[in-house]
Symmetry: C2
């Protein structure tokens, strides 16, 4: 089958299938006379594996590992468990941070009258000259570029959500 079909059957866009091939997550597909990529049911099987892993928030890098373990009949389940647990830890840490942030904000918002007067503790807090003189350009970064890798808005966030 061609890439469109494989895409429909696996739930991964054709674009991403080509991308995954380009970065080596999946081997290069064989081509038809006309240069079209050809996929077998087995390939689709692999693609679905990838889709599920992706839906669980695994990064491509982790998927490389998982795929190798999947294909290796002699793999030790301990390896899989290790990867999974490491991922669980990451997810939990990120969830915790998110909850802390939302808690702080919520608290601030609760003390914000929400009327048309300019008093607002949220702004006040942000403007406050408090604490240490700030660690020098700590360069603290956020998540990884794509952060947690959640299957977000599904139907909700189809739009680019910005300009």
């Amino acid at each position: 089958m061609n890439i469109g079909r494989a895409s429909a059957e696996s739930g991964i866009s054709a674009k991403m299938i080509r991308y995954y091939e380009s970065i080596g997550l999946i081997p290069a597909a064989s081509r038809s006379e006309g240069g079209y990529r050809e996929y077998s049911d087995n390939d689709v099987h692999t693609l679905r594996f990838i889709r599920r892993a992706r839906d669980l928030g695994f990064t491509v890098e982790q998927m490389v590992e998982l795929l190798a373990l999947w294909r290796d009949r002699k793999r030790a389940s301990a390896d899989v468990k290790r990867i999974a647990l490491k991922h669980v830890e990451e997810l939990e840490r990120k969830a915790r941070e998110l909850r802390e942030m939302s808690g702080t904000l919520k608290h601030l918002a609760e003390h914000c009258k929400g009327n048309d007067r300019p008093d607002c503790p949220i702004i006040a807090e942000l403007a406050e000259e408090a604490g240490q003189p700030a660690r020098p350009s700590s360069g603290r970064r956020r998540f990884g570029p794509m952060a947690a890798g959640l299957t977000t808005g599904r139907s909700t966030s189809g739009r680019p959500a910005r300009s």
Copy 2:
């Protein structure tokens, strides 16, 4: 003061200060004879405001709004509250999704013996041919490109973690 000093005092890297200027989050700084950017204490004040907002997970886009509100003495606190609460909702949703993911994974990992035998329900789950034939190339996407915007690994994930 020059950008290095402003960076140290605000906790935002010089690189990011220039970046914020380039995208219009902050106005272009005046320049010294030698072409160096010059910052006042007030500018540093603004930069710290930005740093705090960033630490609370606000995106640049949201910071633009917050800064405008901050600078506008006649602002309505209702606007600030609205933005904050919307952000809280987002954060909570993301945290919830993360917890769901980690829960699923944890459950799977608990049933994985973790020995040197190849049996592993994690792999089995991923490989399973179950369910619907997968919604056609749904193109479901994850978070925004930078997802939640947490102050992540601090010391943990400093490394590029790849290649």
